[in-house]
């Protein structure tokens, strides 16, 4: 079953899906597993596993540090794939690779995709790989049945949104605002208008990310989007209060 169908299916029971995020190897793979356990309990629908990179220029401070610490811990690409395999074997949610293109490039596009597939991942998010540069990777992905997640952003023109839509598979990641991950986004007319513009260009499900941090954000998104993408807020909860606070965070978040 493709990602799009999976999302649509889950949406039958839920007004708003949730995609969560974990930086592989930070603070440790064991901790990652514990976090994922909590996310699974909370009924999270999709998870991005970020492969750490030394130059995470699209990430905000918390993730930057997480990338850095993970690499200091010695995390390798191999570790990440192995972890992904364990995660996909254990949990019901679907898993995406998230990271930077150099990780893919160094491994070789084909090799990367084969390993991703073998680890049970369904696709990937590479924020520094624009569609112009993604031709061969997308083609190979189609062959292998893996889905590139495309980002649509508030600065894109309609023309550009159409181009992005043409390349998008699975769902579209709607970037709620300018900036990097991590700081709070004021949900309001801007977000609604952006989602509407994206919707005009694609029939794929729309996930909205960047700055989703509490139940009120969820409430706002319900009806506008198909999925809320939660990153930094969850990591912050974990860093501040470990498993307990993370559990609290998700139960607050998903309480309808």
């Amino acid at each position: 079953m493709g990602l799009q169908s999976y999302i649509e299916q889950r949406k039958a029971d839920k007004s708003l899906l949730v995609m969560a995020h974990v930086v592989c190897g930070y603070p440790s793979f064991e901790a990652n597993m514990a976090e994922l356990e909590i996310m699974a309990e909370a009924g999270v629908d999709l998870v991005e596993l970020q492969f750490p990179f030394s130059e995470p220029s699209a990430d905000g401070p918390l993730f930057v540090r997480a990338n850095e610490m993970s690499l200091q811990n010695g995390t390798t690409v191999n570790d990440c794939f192995e972890f992904m395999a364990a995660v996909t074997a254990r949990f019901p949610f679907k898993v995406l690779m998230m990271g930077y293109y150099n990780t893919v490039f160094k491994l070789g596009e084909e090799q990367f995709l084969r390993r991703l597939k073998a680890a049970g991942g369904v696709g990937y998010i590479l924020p520094d790989l624009p569609i112009e540069e993604a031709g061969s990777l997308h083609a190979l992905s189609a062959e292998l049945g893996l889905e590139p997640i495309i980002l649509m952003t508030p600065t894109n023109s309609d023309e550009r949104l159409a181009q992005l839509a043409a390349a998008a598979r699975g769902f579209v990641y709607v970037v709620a605002r300018k900036g990097v991950t991590g700081s709070k986004t004021q949900m309001g007319d801007d977000v609604a208008a952006l989602v509407a513009r994206c919707r005009a260009h694609t029939d794929l499900p729309l996930g909205v990310g960047f700055g989703i941090s509490d139940r009120s954000d969820m409430e706002y998104l319900r009806g506008h989007a198909d999925m809320a993408i939660v990153g930094t807020a969850a990591l912050r909860a974990w860093e501040q209060g470990g498993a307990e606070q993370l559990r609290q965070f998700f139960s607050d978040l998903v309480a309808a």
Partner: protein, 418 residues
């Protein structure tokens, strides 16, 4: 040779190097920049305005100086030096910065951001921002802020906000990442003044274009002063902007071009920043573009090292990577030790104080000049001066009197407070 004719190939690519690898949110901004740059490039009044400003504000044209003593001392080729150190703010960085400042005005933006390592580019950008009345934020690795306080002092006094970046190695590449993060947030009113000919297209082309003023002048000056072209040109290569600047004047000539990288502790030491001269780098994608990077097999960047902060960078200009591959530019690396010796020799014989970055080019020219004929000519691009960076030089030369002086000053400041 027109490197910038992309009609037959991929826009912004030089062979397989270059490109744009940026978050989608910047797509429109980079397109807007590219378009504006194209307009500027095809508008002769823009270049004329640029040249005039460089003349009236920065003192261009910078001269070519014959190093009669150094040449005689080495007993080989005649050495000439293109004096970018005489620019306002003390290096070639101002060429790029003023150019981008003019462009920023055409873009209608009111704020500039920049990364800086050694501080030269930040210093130049803060200066330009003061001159153009732009708001200015400079990102600088926390380690560099601590090392380069003098430059921070001047930047702040020119009204710039200097942000100490606490991520990663807390040096240049981390400052670039942080500047990118600012840009993806504030692109509406903010132009990112990248300091070298790296990063996503059109930066390598654009920075090279502004720096081409160096090579244009140099070619004409060499012909006027010596009646011929040089046999070899040496330029240090951090990101590659000063090298591209001077080399461009001579691409269609029979002139050997030599890029001089930071050899640090030497080949095999891993403590260096030689991307092409040594065998440690490989092709990758980071900081918005594709080129040779000093990275591990996982695609994560290595720690680099150089006596010269401005050469201490993981990647290299994609155009130079391409030209190197085509055997059009030869690459060498100067070790920290060679640089120390070359600096001392240059100061003593010629009364010039090249920046430590620049001294890498001097070191390799000094090494090769003796085996060249007395009628052969070397041209070195003196990309900057070091008189502003005394801490760096005094520490590089391990000068004890300097250290004693600093201790005395510290004691004096301590006492003042009491």
């Amino acid at each position: 040779m027109n490197l910038f004719d992309f009609s037959n190939g991929k826009e912004g690519y030089y062979g397989q190097y270059g490109g744009v690898f940026l978050p989608e949110i910047l797509q429109a901004t980079v397109n807007e920049l590219l378009e504006c740059f194209r307009q500027c490039k095809s508008d002769p009044t823009f270049w004329a305005e640029f040249v005039e400003l460089m003349q009236n504000y920065s003192g261009r044209p910078t001269p070519i100086t014959h190093m009669a003593n150094l040449s005689a001392h080495l007993g080989g080729a005649q050495i000439y030096v293109k004096r970018e150190d005489l620019n306002h703010t003390g290096s070639h960085k101002i060429n790029n910065v003023i150019g981008q400042g003019l462009l920023c005005k055409r873009l209608g933006k009111s704020r500039v951001i920049a990364e800086t390592g050694a501080g030269q580019h930040g210093f130049a950008t803060a200066t330009m921002a003061a001159k153009f009345g732009l708001d200015c934020t400079i990102y600088m690795g926390a380690v560099d802020v601590a090392r380069q306080r003098p430059n921070v002092f001047w930047m702040e006094n020119m009204g710039a906000q200097v942000v100490a970046v606490q991520d990663g190695q807390k040096t240049l590449k981390d400052a670039i990442n942080e500047a990118m993060r600012d840009w993806v947030t504030n692109m509406a009113d903010t132009h990112y003044v990248l300091g070298t000919a790296c990063g996503p297209h059109p930066f390598p082309e654009m920075v090279s274009w502004f720096q081409s003023i160096v090579g244009q002048e140099a070619r004409a000056q060499m012909l006027e002063q010596t009646g011929r072209l040089p046999d070899r040109i040496y330029a240090c290569v951090g990101g590659g902007s000063n090298a591209m600047g001077i080399f461009q004047g001579f691409f269609d000539d029979d002139v050997e071009l030599i890029g001089c990288e930071a050899g640090g502790h030497g080949a095999g030491s891993s403590l260096h920043a030689a991307r092409l001269a040594y065998n440690d780098a490989s092709v990758g994608i980071a900081q918005g573009f594709k080129t040779y990077f000093l990275q591990n097999d996982q695609g994560n960047m290595n720690e680099t090292h150089s006596i010269a902060a401005g050469l201490d960078y993981i990647g290299i200009n994609p155009i130079l990577a391409y030209l190197w591959e085509q055997d059009k530019v030869r690459f060498l690396a100067a070790t920290d030790d060679e640089v120390r010796e070359a600096l001392k020799l240059t100061m003593r014989t010629e009364g010039l104080i090249p920046a430590l970055e620049t001294t890498h080019a001097f070191a390799k020219a000094i090494e090769e000049a003796p085996s060249m004929g007395k009628d052969e000519i070397i041209l070195i691009n003196q990309s900057g001066r070091a008189d502003k960076d005394i801490f760096t030089v005094a520490e590089a030369l391990d000068d004890n009197k300097w250290k004693e002086f600093i201790k005395t000053k510290a004691a004096q400041y301590q006492q003042e407070r009491q």
